[in-house]
């Protein structure tokens, strides 16, 4: 098991969400309350990307485009910048 960014997953690979970071890097501690990035994380979580959820990367659009992911039975498009801030536990 290893922790990767969602954006680093290969097409077809699945992982379990560990955390959704705020700001650059692994901001697990910063910005917990409202403020910069609050809306971003809330949005992802409202769409079902909560810690512990299984997420599968179906494919990504070319030139660092968004990712097509499968989560909780539905298909979402997530911008790459957002996907980079989602940390997932992957079996490799």
């Amino acid at each position: 098991m290893m922790e990767l960014r969602l954006s680093d997953l290969r097409d077809g690979e699945s992982g379990i969400i560990n955390s959704v970071g705020v700001g650059r890097g692994r901001g697990r501690g910063d910005g917990r309350r409202a403020g910069r990035g609050w809306g971003f994380r809330k949005r992802l979580e409202d769409m079902g990307l909560t810690p512990g959820t299984k997420v599968t990367v179906v494919k990504s659009a070319p030139f660092n485009g968004p990712l097509e992911v499968y989560v909780r039975g539905s298909r979402l498009a997530i911008g790459r910048g957002m996907a980079e801030r989602i940390f997932v536990e992957v079996k490799r």
Partner: protein, 645 residues
């Protein structure tokens, strides 16, 4: 007590068939406008059923009741403040878990509710079987299975709505329970909230405060700041326990409840063969093939709209202008007759020859594509490109619309999530060459200078969009939002809904644009009749002649262009007395003129749209900026081109 009039609000995720149900319920008795002071569309309708008059409000399609977008804020404000008698929660049966997450939040607002378990046919095809009676028991609200596109279940839905509003049935709606450590703290806060007068239910407020919801926090702060402080402290404790932010914990647990209910009521046996819609999805979002498919679809759509529009437009104006002699026979060819014809009637003709041939098919195809699900695929493919100007994939849709007409383009900016992004997108849209601008580019430069120059102008425009878009993105304060969107399954669009949406949007356009076009035409006609045009052209000559190197009369044509851009070309022909522009204008003049006409101002209908969506100040700023920008750029282009020629 019985009353014969009540209000129902329709609430649900996007793409669950909400607008189909709305149309099935209200037929043609609907009104589409904006929520007061907001750039969010509000659809209302009325229906009569068994002696009752029922007002139906179609709330925006959303996934949550937080503060992420204006739609979410408006929806929860509406439910809490306006207090509809009943909410119909429309749910996509094939995506139960995500939909139930929203249902649970609606239940927390403690308004009477029933559920329309929609798209049962789709769920069946996907191999999902749902025990709706069990769902009804678990949720404690009536659940009616529906297939909106065929009208199945709509009657039952209304019957149930009446039963509930008359309190003939006694239901105990589910209150989702969270972990013990959370429930204890919710209780503590809601006890405090109950002591103050507030529009939302105490438990809901307590949860929002724990989640760190800014809007609720600010409103409570004004009443009693201690409550907020207590909530912050308690939220901190939950964070200590779980190691995640409190809003994460609550959202996770809420999803957990939704997931458990979904698992209990549904049985999924996925079909073995990948269905057609999945193959179409794979093809249209393919990393290589997706792009040519998109380009071909969009180009053929534009080509057919322009061909159709050009033909119909010509036909319509022939018919209208054929009436001129008859008109003159009645009103005479005097000043009054000229004013009425040249101002009012020509304004109507102008509007009609744009609205019907271009806007109508445009809207139709837009709603057709939206309903089918293809628009979200386009947004997926274009996300990367739009990021270059600080926007995300969805912004491509209004920009694309702008190529047809800037008005629907600006209205289409409503699909963006935040006000900042709406404004940025609208700014970009006003720089996009619309159908009328294309007429000028092709009719003047394309015809008399060369197609390569016409193309060059397009390229220049795209570069300008890119550069200005980027600058605006950097200067406008606020956080950029990234793309996060559901790509719902492809489906066959529901024609009746598509046609109705087209119709109501067309009416919206006519109501907004026609009066302005008519008044504008009248003013300019008046100026012409009292011989004001020439003095105005002379006043403008330092700009037009000295700076831009154009003939004096172009000042007049550019004024006409404010009404409708293609008038610049028509007036040019009228005033120069020829359509062979090469005889009276030099190559450089034609290029510079087209460049300025392309950029100098959003037309009057677009300005009106900007005012409606963003207010006077912003609309005025964009307009003035573009005039100044076009003039400066035109002058520079003139000097550069003079060096080359």
């Amino acid at each position: 007590m019985t009353k014969n009039k009540f209000t129902i609000a329709l609430a649900g995720n996007a793409n669950v068939g909400k607008s189909v149900i709305f149309n099935q319920l209200t037929g043609l008795h609907q009104h589409i406008g904006n929520w007061p002071g907001k750039t969010v569309e509000k659809a209302e309708g009325t229906l009569h059923f068994k002696g009752y008059t029922i007002d139906v409000i179609d709330l925006p399609g959303i996934y949550s009741l937080s503060t992420f977008s204006l739609e979410e804020l408006i929806s929860r404000e509406y439910i809490a403040v306006e207090r509809p008698d009943l909410i119909i929660n429309i749910v996509d049966a094939s995506l139960l878990e995500r939909n139930l997450f929203f249902t649970l939040q609606l239940l927390e607002l403690e308004t009477p509710m029933i559920m329309a378990l929609n798209q049962m046919d789709m769920a069946k095809r996907k191999g999902t079987k749902i025990d709706h009676e069990k769902l009804e028991k678990l949720l404690g609200i009536p659940v009616i299975p529906t297939v909106a596109v065929s009208g199945t279940g709509i009657y039952e839905l209304l019957e149930k709505a009446i039963e509930i509003t008359e309190k003939r049935v006694d239901m105990k709606p589910l209150k989702a329970q969270y972990g013990k450590e959370i429930e204890e703290r919710i209780k503590k806060i809601s006890n405090l909230v109950e002591k103050i007068q507030f529009k939302y239910p105490a438990r809901w407020v307590a949860m929002k405060l724990l989640e760190g919801d800014k809007e609720v926090e600010n409103e409570i702060l004004e009443i009693n700041s201690e409550i907020v402080a207590t909530a912050k402290k308690l939220a901190g404790e939950i964070e200590e326990i779980h190691g995640h932010s409190c809003s994460t914990v609550i959202t996770s647990e809420r999803y957990e409840v939704a997931s458990r209910i979904a698992r209990e009521v549904q049985e999924i046996t996925p079909p073995i063969k990948p269905p057609m819609r999945e193959r179409i999805h794979a093809l249209t979002t393919h990393r290589i093939l997706g792009y040519p498919i998109m380009a071909i679809s969009l180009l053929s759509i534009f080509f057919s709209i322009f061909t159709f529009g050009d033909y119909t437009s010509g036909l319509l104006s022939d018919v209208f202008y054929g009436l001129e002699p008859i008109f003159e026979g009645i009103f005479g060819a005097g000043i009054a007759g000229k004013l009425v014809w040249g101002g009012v009637i020509e304004g109507i003709i102008g509007g009609a020859t744009v609205a019907l041939p271009y806007i109508l098919p445009f809207y139709f195809i837009l709603y057709f594509l939206e309903d089918s699900g293809y628009l979200s695929r386009i947004a997926f493919l274009m996300d990367n490109l739009m990021h270059k100007i600080g926007l995300h994939g969805k912004a491509f849709i209004p920009v694309m619309l702008g190529f047809g007409c800037n008005v629907p383009g600006c209205l289409g900016c409503r699909i963006m999530e935040t006000t900042r992004e709406r404004l940025l997108t609208a700014f970009v849209v006003t720089l996009v060459p619309c159908a009328a601008t294309t007429v000028i580019i092709l009719g003047l430069v394309g015809r008399f200078v060369g197609v390569q120059w016409a193309l060059a102008l397009y390229v220049v425009d795209l570069l300008i969009i890119f550069v200005l878009g980027r600058i605006a993105f950097k200067t406008l304060p606020g956080e950029p939002t990234a793309l996060i969107m559901e790509m719902s399954d492809y489906r066959v669009p529901h024609m009746k809904t598509v046609l109705k949406q087209t119709w109501f949007r067309l009416m919206e356009f006519i109501k907004m644009a026609f009066p302005l076009i008519i008044v504008g035409s009248l003013v300019i006609k008046l100026a012409e009749v009292i011989n004001l045009l020439e003095p105005i052209a002379n006043i403008l000559s330092p700009v037009t002649v000295t700076w831009l190197g154009l003939p004096v009369i172009t000042g007049i044509t550019l004024i006409f262009g404010v009404i409708r851009k293609e008038l610049t070309l028509i007036m040019l022909a009228t005033l120069l007395g020829t359509t062979n522009f090469a005889q009276v204008m030099t190559t450089v003049q034609m290029i510079v003129f087209t460049l300025v006409a392309m950029l100098y101002i959003p037309c009057i209908a677009t300005i009106a749209t900007l005012v409606k969506e963003f207010g006077w100040k912003k609309a005025l700023f964009i307009t003035l900026f573009e005039i100044v920008f076009a003039i400066i750029l035109g002058g520079i282009a003139f000097r550069l081109l003079m060096l080359a020629y």
